[in-house]
Amino acid sequence: MSEEFDDDEMLAAEYAIGLLPADEMEAARRRALSDPVFSARIAEWQAVLSEIADFESVTPPVRAKTAIMHQLFPETARVSVWRRLGLWQALAGGAVAATFVLGFILWQPGPTDQAGPLYTAEIMSQAGDFRVVAVVDKIRNEVILTRTAGAAPEGRILQLWAHGPDEPAQSVGLWPDGESIRLRLPPEIAMVQGTLTLGVSEEPIGGSVTGSPSGRVFGTVDIPNVSDSI
């Protein structure tokens, strides 16, 4: 809250409570997107008001949770395939090209039994201001990351996270600087069969101290059908 109850403070309060007509609500919402001081004032009022919404708990019916889980994580393979297809179609052309090129080289019949699959994916923020191409190399159990847009804010670093289906997310490693980095997959992540999820967050130098992302998570990507053999 400001030192003085000026017009902007009033507007922030009226917006947070919802007293204004639709057009003025919309104008205030849009202004908050580009005005950090005004946005912080709204956040303050939201925080203050949330304290009056502190009611005696009411246990929701069990079906509510079932419905949410079903809606978010439909179990049928068909739906999953379509969702995944959407993700893969969203890949940048460069990343898809990389799949074919690298895949071709590695899938040559060779004298060794070391051949393993290679997966590429792109991690992209919703706003599109941050993009990373990830190549998961199952021969070496490594992941190679390349930034194509955006970076960690000044004084912060990037951190890569990963998990398998229904597994807790864990840190893969830190990405302190540079356009590109190669990280060894931790044993639990190297063992993932099926959908492998990767995510990138920005963290303090030295990485998150909580074991989970503590800063902004730029985005995640699901890589379907990951396995050790081609």
């Binding site: 304290e51 992302p213 998570v217």
Partner: protein, 189 residues
């Protein structure tokens, strides 16, 4: 508000914060745990706004779907985890209530995460306000505190409140603005 709770709450807040950040990574177990830890609180808000009925259940479902989908944006809002969750539940319920009323003057609240993170000073500044809203609200004349609560929990705008009280819009607006000014003065004392 951030940093305003005692030690027990702080660790609970840190736990919720961790669960939300894990949801941002697509960690379903974290979402499961977040639901179990918070759904009774959030459902209570949906029930207060919409009544004990299917609409309240739907609003709670929408709230958690938004929480899952917007978890990555949580860290930039500057909110404490409970403020973020409560504001999501309240805004989602109010939007649904207004849709049910078929209000032509309909405005969705959109995402809670409208803007960037508060600075450390702003967060500190807010500490002194914590826990005072209830006392400050009850120090206002009844019609003003009732008006503010009706707007927040029943989705009434100045125009709706004026119509319900059968007074001119300007009268209602002036009265509630005085109430908000007094509320702010009480909280910043």
């Amino acid at each position: 508000m951030r940093g305003s709770e005692d030690d027990t709450h702080k660790s609970a807040g840190a736990e919720l914060e961790e669960l939300i950040s894990r949801c941002a990574l697509g960690d379903r177990k974290a979402f499961d745990a977040l639901y179990d830890a918070t759904s009774a609180k959030l459902y209570a808000i949906c029930v207060r706004i919409l009544g004990t009925n299917a609409a309240a259940e739907d609003a709670m479902q929408d709230t958690y779907i938004k929480i899952w989908n917007n978890a990555a944006q949580y860290s930039v809002t500057g909110h404490s985890p409970m403020t973020w969750l409560i504001t999501n539940a309240r805004n989602t319920s109010i939007d649904r209530l207004r849709a049910l009323r078929e209000d032509s003057d309909l405005a969705d609240h959109g995402d809670v995460s409208t803007g960037p993170r508060m600075t450390a000073e702003q967060s500190e500044f807010s500490v002194s306000r914590a826990g005072r809203i209830k006392d400050c609200l009850s120090s206002l004349p009844d019609d003003r505190s009732d008006g503010i609560k009706a707007a927040y929990f029943d989705g009434y705008s100045y125009a709706d409140l004026a119509e319900r009280a059968n007074v001119p819009l300007n009268t209602m607006r002036t009265s509630l603005r005085r109430g908000l000014t007094a509320l702010w003065e009480c909280m910043t004392q």
